[in-house]
Amino acid sequence: MNDHELDQLLAKATHPQPQSGFHNRLLQRLEEQQGNKVIAFPVKKQKAAWLIGLPLAASLVLGLWLGASGRLTNIIPLTTSEVASVDTSTTGFEDVLTIIEDELT
């Protein structure tokens, strides 16, 4: 087979044509893809606010209670027994006269 004969046969090969509507389908796909490119903001799942607030509030109360229980009692006497344990030695203002008298004698 020579080149001319081969060209004759090649000329008989199928010349494919896109099926009708190909161009429109291509345009449609383009538009679809453009639509897909628009990324919607994800809808966040709304959690109940109190679900987050509750443990926070609880830890705050616990922290206050634990932190303050050791200190507040030192500052503000809460019971009468603690009042009774106030120092009774002779170093107060009321004892000044007694001390002076002792020094004079």
Partner: protein
């Protein structure tokens, strides 16, 4: 970038626009300009995809994908003058990638996708010859098939075909020579018979 003045992409402005203008407008997401690019080149790109896919029905999908690649990233194409070749190369790469993933289908499909145009061969013999030729071309290695498709079926110059394949002209000519030699060997058996049939019909 030329503005689209008409109501459709077929406005005279885009029809007369150069590939470079169309691409520049398409890069700015102008659908009308891009539609004109498709209008200009979807047929040759489809034909190349079809030839490489050996009549597989995915040729349409591959062609669409090649255009979508361009639409999504027009910056990939550095030279507007190479648009047609670039699209053909992308389409052919897509076909080859797909067939690497799944085995090639038999070319019986080719007989089902016969040109329905009025100028198409109307006798059974011609249809058989067309199918036989398609099958012989499909049996060639991919690079040879591509070179033959560009030069013989798409009537590209050797220089343009070599540029589209990103090879030297010498390499392209070598591929073409091997493709033709391969075809002659493949058609050694029934080539004479087909030629005789063509001669008979000519008389």
């Amino acid at each position: 970038v030329k503005p689209a003045t008409g109501s459709s992409y077929q406005s005279p402005d885009w029809r007369s626009a150069s590939d470079a203008d169309l691409l520049a407008a398409a890069a700015l997401r102008n659908q009308q300009a891009f539609a004109m690019v498709m209008e200009r080149y979807y047929q040759p790109v489809y034909r190349v995809a079809w030839r490489l896919a050996a009549g597989h029905v995915d040729a349409e999908d591959v062609t669409q994908e090649a255009f979508l690649k361009l639409w999504n990233n027009p910056g990939q194409l550095r030279e507007a003058g190479a648009l047609k070749g670039w699209l053909m190369r992308v389409a052919s790469n897509l076909v080859m990638d797909r067939y690497r993933q799944k085995p090639m289908q038999e070319l019986e499909m080719a007989e089902m996708v016969i040109d329905q145009s009025p100028s198409a061969p109307c006798t059974i013999d011609q249809a058989r010859i067309a199918a036989r030729m398609d099958k012989a071309i499909a049996a060639l290695p991919d690079r040879q098939k591509l070179a033959l498709t560009f030069v013989h079926f798409e009537h590209m110059t050797n220089i343009a075909a070599a540029a589209a394949m990103e090879i030297s002209v010498d390499a392209l000519e070598s591929l073409l020579a091997r493709a033709r030699r391969g075809l002659k060997e493949l058609l050694a058996k029934d080539g004479r018979l087909m030629l005789a049939s063509l001669t008979q019909e000519g008389h």
